[in-house]
């Protein structure tokens, strides 16, 4: 449509040029003007003609003027032959000057046109940007992001593949399979141009990561505009991503505050009545004479309520370590002593489990926070006892490696299912069997690992086939014992 319009305009301009030259020729011929004066008038006509037409139209008119000068005004007349040198110079001068003027005019006009186009594009880009950034960051996704591009740049179609949501959004009607080409661009991570289809695809990058890909169909001046539009789209997408992550962080922080408040309330509201029950049950046995059965029942209430209290305390301690950053107060300590003490404690707590301790070779001094380390080992022992059968064997084994000491806590229970192995250290995760076997918070292993990592070590589940379950806690071994000031 536009090319036909341009052709028609070129033909009209050419006709006008020919008419102008014809008119000048007729007038000059009638008044018998000499060749030099006529050449000057031709030149004026050519300059006027080249003011608003392209180079080729003006060049054709220039050649026509030179031919007309030769035919009608240079001897011998009505031939294209030139006999006098002066006439030849006049003719050549006319041709050269008219062509140069035409060229300069065409270039300056093209530059003006380009500059106008650029200004228009800048304005469109500015308006599209303003429109996009005026939207709420959370709303600038999908079609809302594409609409300003589509309307401001009069595109046939525009398409976006969003990496975060893995969704494809399209506006307009594509004739060249824009969506497929945009998706291909995203997958390959490369920009692409399809000149025959008028399609440009640009990948959207931000800080080294891909945000998606955007495709334009029917974009004029794509080499200039496509990078700018892609940058704008990337900025808007990134802004939306940052907003979403900030909103999620704020929601997480709010959830944590709420959790802390609930935990504190739980500590108070739960443990206060428990304290009353334990005290009252203990008081029963000292206030008066009770039958042996009554005394036994009172003792049972006291023991069980106290146990509930211990469980609550332990759960609250885990929850506190979970929400706080673990900062161990490191000091040289005997890992064997810590492990042994925990093993002994659990022997008393779980008399129906066969808990033993073994030490393989000399383990160097480790730098640990003894209290935190006891807590981590106790957690492993707690799990080993809680999730095993009565009379199960539990072994705490200490061994030393090249640069690390390892504390293995093994029990002869059923192995942890393969699909759960990678998830058991996740916060709040509880295995299917674990949920059936015993109560728990899903925080124990998570916190134990957090403690191990804070010590520069690690906690992992060992692969020992069908032979029970082993958790290995590793700790870096210090080369020399820290000196102690007297």
């Amino acid at each position: 449509m536009s090319s036909r319009h341009a052709l028609r305009r070129a033909v009209l301009v050419l006709v006008r040029g020919v008419a102008l030259i014809a008119a000048v020729t007729a007038i000059c011929y009638r008044i018998h003007l000499n060749s030099a004066s006529t050449a000057l008038l031709f030149l004026i006509a050519i300059v006027l003609q080249s003011l608003d037409c392209g180079f080729w139209e003006a060049a054709i008119v220039s050649v026509l003027a030179a031919a007309s000068l030769d035919w009608f005004f240079i001897d011998p007349l009505f031939t294209f032959t030139v006999t006098h040198r002066l006439d030849l110079i006049t003719l050549v001068c006319l041709l050269i000057v008219s062509l140069v003027v035409t060229r300069i005019q065409a270039r300056s006009r093209s530059e003006a046109r380009e500059s106008r186009l650029q200004r228009e594009n800048m304005e469109r880009l500015y308006r599209a940007g303003t429109e996009l950034f005026a939207q709420a960051p959370a709303a600038t996704v999908g079609p809302a992001l594409l609409r300003p591009f589509w309307t401001r740049f009069e595109l046939e179609a525009v398409c976006l593949f969003d990496h975060a949501s893995k969704e494809m959004h399209e506006l307009g009607k594509s004739r060249g399979g824009l969506a497929t080409k945009t998706r291909d661009g995203y997958i390959s991570g490369r920009n692409a141009v399809y000149p025959e289809l008028g399609i440009v695809v640009r990948c959207l990058w931000e800080r080294g990561g891909i945000l998606g890909a955007i495709g334009f169909e029917g974009l004029r001046n794509p080499e200039l505009l496509a990078p700018a539009l892609a940058s704008l789209a990337a900025s808007v997408l990134e802004r939306s991503r940052i907003f979403r992550s900030a909103a999620a962080a704020a929601a997480r922080a709010q959830a944590e505050t709420l959790r802390s408040a609930i935990l504190d309330a739980l500590a108070h509201e739960f443990k206060t009545p428990l304290a009353t029950i334990v005290t009252a049950a203990g008081g029963l046995s000292v206030t008066g004479s009770m039958s042996p059965d009554q005394a036994e029942l009172a003792a049972m209430i006291e023991t069980e309520a106290a146990r509930l209290g211990d469980l609550t305390s332990r759960l609250l301690r885990l929850a506190r370590l979970d929400r706080e950053e673990v900062t161990p107060r490191l000091e040289p300590a005997d890992a064997s002593e810590i492990a042994q003490r925990s093993a002994r404690r659990y022997t008393k707590l779980w008399p129906d489990r066969q808990i033993s301790f073994r030490k393989n070779g000399e383990v160097g001094d480790v730098r640990v926070d003894p209290e935190l380390m006891s807590l981590a080992i106790s957690q492993l022992l707690e799990n080993a006892c809680k999730y095993s059968r009565p009379d199960a064997r539990v072994l705490v084994e200490l061994s030393s490696g090249e640069n690390a000491a390892a504390i293995d806590v093994w029990n002869d229970g059923d192995p942890i299912p393969t699909d759960e192995r990678s998830r058991i250290f996740d916060r709040f995760y509880r295995g299917k069997d674990a949920q059936r076997t015993a109560a728990g918070s899903g925080l124990g292993l998570y916190v134990a690992r957090k403690i191990a990592l804070a010590h520069g070590g690690d906690l992992s589940l060992m692969d020992n086939g069908a032979e029970g379950v082993t958790f290995r806690l590793t700790l870096p071994v210090s080369k020399s014992e820290a000196s102690v000031a007297e």
Binding site: T272, T276, I277, T279, G288, V484, A485
Partner: protein, 243 residues
């Protein structure tokens, strides 16, 4: 240990708890009075001096820590036992530094509470005679004149600092001593945060005086708070090297 003459003031905002504790302690031979909050506790302490105050840390109004500080300044010789539900070390350290003698975490068994009350009471009683030059705890003997420590009659070699630490612990038998109090008492007022020193010395002392250092009977750890020196001959003092 007779409890008949021991006057205990229970300060807690929970009436059911006060009632249960009052009845139980009264049945165990204590003379019990009550207060619902810190302000009331101060008034009661002024009107009717007691031997030991049982103070809940979390109370509306003045709060347990502030009440502890005020009661301590009002009657320096009173025993203060703090009660807490939170089991948070910072609360315990704060309470001990505000002048409390000990603390128990709710819920606790009555006999544990009574043992703690009696231990506090015992430390408050005026000494019957001039302090003995030789202090005893189980099979340990500390001769402060000769600076010699023996275990079952055999002399234990201690470095000067080890001796100072053991002597300090010996003199405060049964009391819960915070890390900073021990450091300041043994190393000097400018100390307080050098936990590593303290722990290293406690480790070395345990190796020398305990039968099994992994199961200490004398120097017990109160995790994240401090240490307590226990006299094994004292049946009422709890053996809990808690974790």
């Amino acid at each position: 240990m007779p409890s008949e003459n021991c006057k205990v003031l229970i300060v807690d905002d929970d009436s059911a708890f006060r009632r249960a504790l009052r009845t139980s302690l009264a049945a165990s031979g204590f003379d019990v009075s009550e207060a619902r909050n810190g302000e009331e506790a101060l008034a009661v302490t002024r009107d009717k001096p007691c031997d030991i105050a049982l103070l809940d840390i979390n109370m509306p109004g003045m709060g347990g820590i502030e009440t502890c500080r005020k009661i301590r300044s009002l009657s320096p010789r009173i025993g203060i036992l703090m009660l807490t539900v939170r089991d948070a070390e910072e609360d315990k350290v704060q309470a001990l530094e505000a002048g409390a003698d000990d603390f128990v975490t709710k819920p606790y068994r009555l006999r544990e509470m009574i043992a703690r009350l009696r231990a506090v009471r015992r430390r408050l009683l005026p000494p019957d005679e001039v302090p003995a030059a030789v202090l005893r705890a189980g099979t340990l003997e500390l001769d402060s004149e000769r600076r010699v420590v023996t275990k079952s009659g055999a002399e234990i070699h201690l470095s000067p600092k080890e001796y100072d630490l053991l002597s300090y612990l010996f003199k405060h038998q049964g009391a819960l001593l915070t890390h900073s109090r021990l450091l300041q008492g043994v190393w000097g007022a400018e100390y307080g945060g050098e936990l590593e020193y303290l722990r290293s010395y406690v480790r070395m002392l345990r190796k020398k005086i305990e039968d099994d250092p992994s199961q200490p009977e004398y120097i017990l750890t109160e995790p994240w708070v401090g240490y307590r020196f226990r006299n094994p001959a004292d049946a009422e003092s709890p053996l809990s090297d808690g974790e």
